[in-house]
């Protein structure tokens, strides 16, 4: 028996609906239909009064969530694709993110963003929005890379008092499987060392964790031992684990699937340089997608995001410095 990443997301929602009467799900096509990706399959049948189809009104969906959270509920909003959260941007960054600071009243809500590219999805069904939301004070942004994290971090997200942007990677939905949901548990805010090493550190998150591990495996044939750090949440950002790793390896490559201008990888590099300059034996590097919209054709798409090959090349350059 195995569990996929999307099974874990569904299971977490099922558990939440069963155990916490404050939780309800709101999103387009999520009730009878079970969601565009089937992350809520069967949930409306078991909880007909807690799982609701929403109109195609992302702004209003998030407005509703903030209002419901003020009233003490724990809404989970499913965006059909992360890309469409741009319509809800105002409610997320101006209403939800500022609410606790302005009023002292927290708004515990979770927005599920089906994120990242898959072949053939094109510019508007492939985006990675974590950097944008992480920019705003008041939001917590999580990016689970494993089946167990997909499960536990969704439970933890809903338990938090603050608004959480839960970035789930579409590429991992069915491809990523585990024997069970219960892998190692770490709280939100702690990074995990996925693979120990001593020659260089790759800091990454979400689907890129798996690409980085592949790159590291390839370099092992040449005797390089690459440490891979999975950030798990990009905000808060666990710089303690990053700096401890860089202290061991002296070399840093930050990898992300989002666009290259600014963002999570830039933040990791900037903080490493300012807080751990003395630990570095080489200039820290970043690798992101290319600086174009996410292309449609699978051949273009595959070369737009970092791959084990491009990560491997970046590591070799870093190691030869």
């Amino acid at each position: 028996m195995s569990v996929t990443y999307i099974d874990a997301i569904r299971e977490a929602q099922l558990k939440l609906l069963r155990e916490d009467s404050r939780v309800f799900l709101y999103g387009q096509d999520i009730a009878t239909f079970g969601g565009a990706f089937k992350a809520t399959k069967g949930l409306a049948q078991e909880f007909p009064n807690r799982v609701f189809d929403a109109p195609i009104s992302e702004d209003a969906m998030l407005g509703l969530a903030v209002g419901a959270a003020i009233e003490g509920m724990r809404p989970i909003i499913e965006m059909q694709f992360a890309d469409f959260s741009s319509i809800a941007f105002n409610q997320i960054v101006n209403q939800a993110a500022t609410h606790y600071y302005r009023t002292g009243v927290p708004v515990p809500l979770t927005v599920r963003l089906p994120s990242g590219g898959t072949p053939g999805s094109g510019p508007f069904h492939s985006q990675s929005m974590e950097s944008i939301y992480a920019h705003y004070p008041g939001l917590i942004v999580v990016t689970p890379a494993t089946v167990s994290d997909a499960y536990h971090m969704l439970l933890d997200s809903v338990a938090l008092e603050d608004p959480v942007i839960y970035c789930e990677h579409k590429f991992l939905y069915r491809w990523l499987k585990a024997k069970s949901i219960n892998g190692d548990y770490l709280p939100i805010g702690q990074a995990r060392i996925v693979r120990p090493g001593k020659h260089a550190t790759v800091v990454t998150y979400s689907a890129m964790v798996h690409e980085a591990v592949r790159a590291a495996e390839r370099l092992q044939a040449d005797g390089w031992e690459i440490e891979v750090v999975d950030l798990r949440s990009v905000k808060p950002l666990d710089m303690d684990t990053v700096l401890a790793s860089v202290a061991r390896t002296g070399r840093l490559l930050a990898v992300g699937e989002a666009f290259p201008w600014g963002g999570v990888t830039a933040e990791v590099v900037a903080r490493t340089v300012s807080e751990g300059f003395h630990l570095l034996d080489a200039p820290p590097q970043r690798l992101n997608s290319r600086d174009t919209p996410v292309p449609y054709h699978p051949k273009l798409w595959a070369a737009h995001r970092p791959t084990p090959e491009s990560i491997g090349e970046a590591l070799r350059r870093l190691l030869s410095f």
Binding site: L64, G67, A69, N90, R102
Partner: protein, 338 residues
């Protein structure tokens, strides 16, 4: 005034006396307070801008006075000092926020009209117009899930310009689809900041939109307290009784600029001299006396009491400490994560 909760605002053609008196007193309190805020602004004593509801008090007060604090939801917008007052917001919340006292509801972290007390059913508006419409829908939606919606109403006010936002359309449509007991009151003062209606929308009258959303629409003369009390009071009652969202469009004129930095010179004199240019407070005073809702002596006494209350409230807020950047906790999160 929880006793209003179960009483209709009109009994046939007869208006509820207490409702009218409460609404008028809030209009008066708002007007005198805002006159004071305006002079404080001109004297440079206000932190930030000042946004007045002058000319729109009748509409706003009739919304607030029709609601029950602790049970209903009221999401005020820019020009709702009167409605806030009628809903039960203490005057000191306003003066503290405008004068920068750290003891205000927003503790100096937000200002002027961007204040609220979500736990008393009055969320704090964000600047982005339209955004409160779906938020009120969400509060009502949650009350339904909790089994607490029976007899509850959520109301929000908005301007003509803000009806052009996506959030407004999305929010009203969502509320209609969910059949929520929501009242949206549009104060059509002819201008959004400086932009006239004919550069804002093409429908003849905004109330026509209600039909498109599948909700009830009501039009009212926003300068006429008794008309507002009847139309708005009944719209609230209709929502309370389970008839779904209600949209009220009140026609009026704002009798000041967009904010106190603006003289409103774009409003043509012909409009100012026309029917909607009349002052709703003066109209209301005549109506109260003519219909026997109040005596002239009462009106004078209320003015005096209110003027004193305004002075006290301003004096108190002025004596209070302002926020201290060194002791502020600078926290945007309720959770303590590493």
């Amino acid at each position: 005034m929880p006793e209003l909760d179960v009483q209709p605002f009109t009994d046939g053609a007869v208006l509820n006396r207490e409702y009218i008196r409460a609404a008028f007193r809030s209009m008066l309190r708002a007007r005198l307070l805002e006159n004071k805020l305006s002079s404080l602004y001109k004297a440079g004593k206000i932190v930030g801008g000042v946004y007045l509801g002058r000319g729109q008090e009748a509409v706003s007060a009739c919304v607030g006075a029709a609601l029950v604090q602790g049970k209903d939801v009221f999401a005020p917008l820019i020009r709702d000092q009167a409605g806030r007052d009628a809903f039960g917001e203490p005057m000191i919340d306003c003066t503290r926020t405008y004068l920068g006292s750290v003891m205000g509801p927003m503790k100096g972290r937000d200002g002027n009209i961007h204040r609220g007390r979500p736990s008393m059913g009055m969320p704090a508006m964000i600047s982005h117009l339209g955004a409160q419409v779906p938020l009120v829908a969400g509060m009502l939606f949650a009350k339904r899930l909790k089994g607490e919606l029976a007899g509850v109403v959520g109301a929000t006010c908005i301007g003509d310009g803000a009806t052009s936002t996506g959030a407004f359309h999305e929010g009203v449509n969502l509320a209609a689809m969910e059949k929520l007991p929501m009242v949206v009151v549009v104060a059509n003062n002819g201008f959004a900041y400086s932009t006239p209606n004919d550069r804002q929308f093409a429908c003849r009258d905004l109330v026509e939109r209600a039909r498109g959303y599948g909700i009830a629409g009501h039009a009212v003369d926003g300068t006429d307290l008794l008309a507002c009390a009847s139309v708005i009071g009944n719209a609230v009652q209709r929502a309370r009784e389970g008839h779904g969202p209600q949209m009220v469009v009140a026609q009026l004129l704002r009798l000041s600029g967009h904010g106190e930095h603006d003289d409103g010179s774009y409003v043509p004199d012909t409009m100012k001299a026309g029917h909607y240019g009349r002052d709703c407070i003066e109209v209301a005073m005549r109506q109260l006396v003519e219909h026997g809702f109040a005596t002239v002596d009462e009106l004078f006494a209320w003015q005096e009491e209110t003027a004193e209350e305004v002075q006290r409230s301003v004096a108190q807020a002025q004596q209070e400490p302002t926020p201290d950047p060194y002791s502020d906790d600078w926290r945007a999160y309720s959770t303590r994560l590493s």
